[in-house]
């Protein structure tokens, strides 16, 4: 069935670059792996009928957060010789991550899920009504959080020297602007 095939392709598009994000020694490569992972996650949201979340993911994550991450990777570039990879941490990290995944997978398989997919219909209007009625206070708090984050990022990147340090503020501003309007 083509639906299953699309799901498998989207899941692979999400998970295979995620392995690359985790294991790549070059952080620029990891950033581009993150691009494909976020794109695959957006595809999964679209597959589940969450059109608004998929578009928001594309705009905020890929258009905002990922650009910020890549900028920072390139601005704080360290030569390869000084970049250590934490090989001694791979074993405990892998053990702990596998343990957490085991618990999660055990839970997923143990619970008898009996949910069937609801009808796939546009969600933008419902989300707008929900944000303006039931979730009005979280919505306002989130706008405060975005304002605080904007001021905080601008303050942190400000420096006493006249050169540099201005790169982060405009990109950050655009990413929060998108969210306030959405």
């Amino acid at each position: 069935m083509t639906g299953d095939l699309i799901f498998i392709l989207l899941a692979l598009l999400t998970l295979v670059p995620a392995v690359w994000v985790v294991l790549s020694r070059n952080l620029v490569h990891a950033g581009f792996g993150l691009l494909f992972t976020l794109f695959g996650a957006a595809g999964l949201y679209a597959y589940m009928g969450a059109d608004f979340i998929a578009v928001t993911q594309l705009m905020v994550y890929i258009g905002g957060v990922l650009v910020l991450v890549l900028f920072t990777v390139m601005m704080t570039h360290v030569p390869r010789s000084r970049q250590n990879h934490g090989l001694d941490r791979y074993v405990p990290a892998a053990v702990f991550a596998l343990l957490v995944f085991g618990v999660l997978y055990k839970t997923i398989t143990a619970v008898p899920w009996h949910g069937a997919a609801g009808p796939a219909e546009p969600t933008v209007a419902k989300i707008g009504v929900g944000i303006m009625t039931d979730y009005i206070f979280p919505f306002e708090y989130v706008s405060l959080v975005l304002l605080a984050a904007m001021i905080g990022a601008a303050l942190l990147t400000r420096e006493s020297r006249p050169t540099g340090g201005e790169e982060d503020a405009p990109a950050e501003e655009t990413s929060s602007d998108q969210e306030v309007t959405s």
């Binding site: 995620a18 910020l68 899920w113």
Partner: protein, 102 residues
């Protein structure tokens, strides 16, 4: 195979474990942040999957939207901190930086 809720939850669990691995094994602060982004995406996939297959409403999707907003704010502040750290210490290694000021 009939794609249902457990498949999406499994994808989310794998993504979460990968993000956790990145957070624990990376030394570069930006790499740690990438792991956090993976974990937030895993939680978002779970939110949307439950909203589609269990809840049949959009509350889970609204929560996912809030998660995306907070992830954007968190990324902005965290990357500003990384830049300040790089300016003060000349490295983005999370082990070296134990103070924000020199």
């Amino acid at each position: 195979m009939n794609v249902g809720l457990p498949h999406f939850l499994t994808v989310g669990a794998i993504l979460f474990a990968l993000g956790l691995f990145a957070v624990m094994s990376r030394r570069n602060a930006v790499g740690i942040l990438m792991g956090v982004e993976l974990m937030l995406n895993a939680s978002n996939i779970n939110f949307v999957a439950f909203s589609r297959y269990v809840e049949h409403a959009v509350d889970g999707q609204i929560m996912a939207a809030f998660v995306i907003v907070l992830a954007a704010a968190e990324a902005a502040v965290a990357l500003a901190i990384v830049l300040a750290m790089y300016r003060n210490f000349g490295t983005a290694n999370a082990d070296v930086a134990q103070r924000l000021k020199r």
